[in-house]
Symmetry: C2
Subunit: 242 residues, 2 copies
């Protein structure tokens, strides 16, 4: 019997990659509107390169962008970038298509739901609260808060312990073959790889750890029903065999 | 002849104090809604005390609030505080009553306009851009960018130099008797104290440095017209005296 389903957050429940791309474009547009003397493509490509090198949580993207473009430091341009980036992130933050419907169906089936995600706890909670999905979840585990990161088995074990369920009673759904799928499979959970977003064709060396592959989040419901009816059939058979 | 007018930003052009109060109240309300087990007044008073001790730019207000209230660290509550604080600040950021009309009148009179403000350059530019007053100004001097703070004479001298005007041709308008009025008077500028906001009855030992005291920002226009007609009358008289 499946008793619990855990979800990754970014690009599984929330459209983070798509959002970040729009927000970065809007930021560059805002900086140019504020007077930054450079064409859109040059600035945008430089920003992507910079984010690639320094990571998306680096707090000085726009400051460094000016340095890389050999422009003078002009706080007005940086402020324009920050404003447009944040406005966009707040206005466009959305759950993945079908996410809320899926969560509701799973709750109706009496399942415990959890989030297991990497990242900054405040930022991750911001996404959960802003998209108003917090009420669906019985627990939220964020790596930078619990002190262990996916794919380390401890974060998955913590999730199982909190719900008091055994690994084979739990499903992990995520977009990353390495951190979500390989990670959850290590502890014996059932795994559903959501082939979506920028990692849809990445880390394929870990594909063998995925029990199921889906391209629509709503397919999680059918998979869990399938697991349950299969288990039921098997146990019926065992009874008959006696 | 008056050729330039400089304005302070916070609580002179932009209603910062009022905004911060609303935002802090909304933050506490959001934290309680997210489950923080404490009554509004207790939490709000503790937050005010904390801000008073650590300053308003301290980045861990909500984290420290939980510690001070002997509550467990719950990132969900902190995130709820942060979201509500920012949503409010973005939605309610407004110019002081009459500010835009005043700036427009002064531009029509052919005056150069500048901002001389303390604070973080990005945050100050954010306020200027979000309230859309940037186009009124020929220059913006922010202390943490130019490296000198009000009331130091250098920041006022920089403003005068950028516009190429003499001190007696310039007016400084601000809500702080010490940093704005005493500061600008030191270099010989004309001073208009805007008796407004939380400093409306503070630093009165510097009142002698104020040439004018106003309670509505729009009075700046009349004051400058007054100075000009008085100077004109005086120079006419001097001509007659010849």
């Amino acid at each position: 019997m499946i008793k619990a389903v855990f979800f990754d957050l970014d690009d599984t429940l929330i459209d983070t990659t798509k959002l970040a791309e729009i927000a970065r474009r809007k930021a560059i547009e805002g900086m140019i509107r504020a007077g930054m003397p450079v064409d859109f493509e040059t600035a945008y490509q430089e920003l992507l390169e910079l984010i690639n090198e320094y990571g998306s949580n680096f707090p000085y993207h726009f400051d460094y962008l000016l340095r890389r473009l050999d422009l003078p430091y002009e706080p007005k341009w940086v402020a324009a970038g920050v404003i447009n980036y944040h406005n966009t992130k707040i206005a466009h933050l959305e759950t993945v298509k079908g996410a809320k419907r899926t969560l509701l169906r799973l709750k109706e089936m009496g399942l415990k739901l959890g989030v297991i995600t990497d990242g900054n706890p405040i930022k991750q909670w911001e996404k959960i609260l802003r998209t108003e999905i917090d009420d669906y979840f019985d627990d939220v585990l964020i790596s930078d808060f619990v002190g262990v990161k996916k794919p380390h088995r401890k974060i998955f074990e913590k999730g199982l312990n909190r719900f008091g369920v055994r690994p084979e009673e739990a499903v992990m759904v995520g977009d990353r073959l390495y951190s979500d799928i390989y990670g959850a499979k290590q502890v014996g959970m059932k795994t559903v790889w959501f082939k979506y977003g920028k990692y849809a064709s990445a880390e394929l060396e870990y594909l063998e750890y995925a029990d199921f592959v889906i391209q629509s989040l709503e397919d999680v419901v059918g998979i869990i029903r399938g697991i349950e009816s299969e288990e039921k059939a098997r146990s019926d058979k065992e009874v008959h065999a006696d």
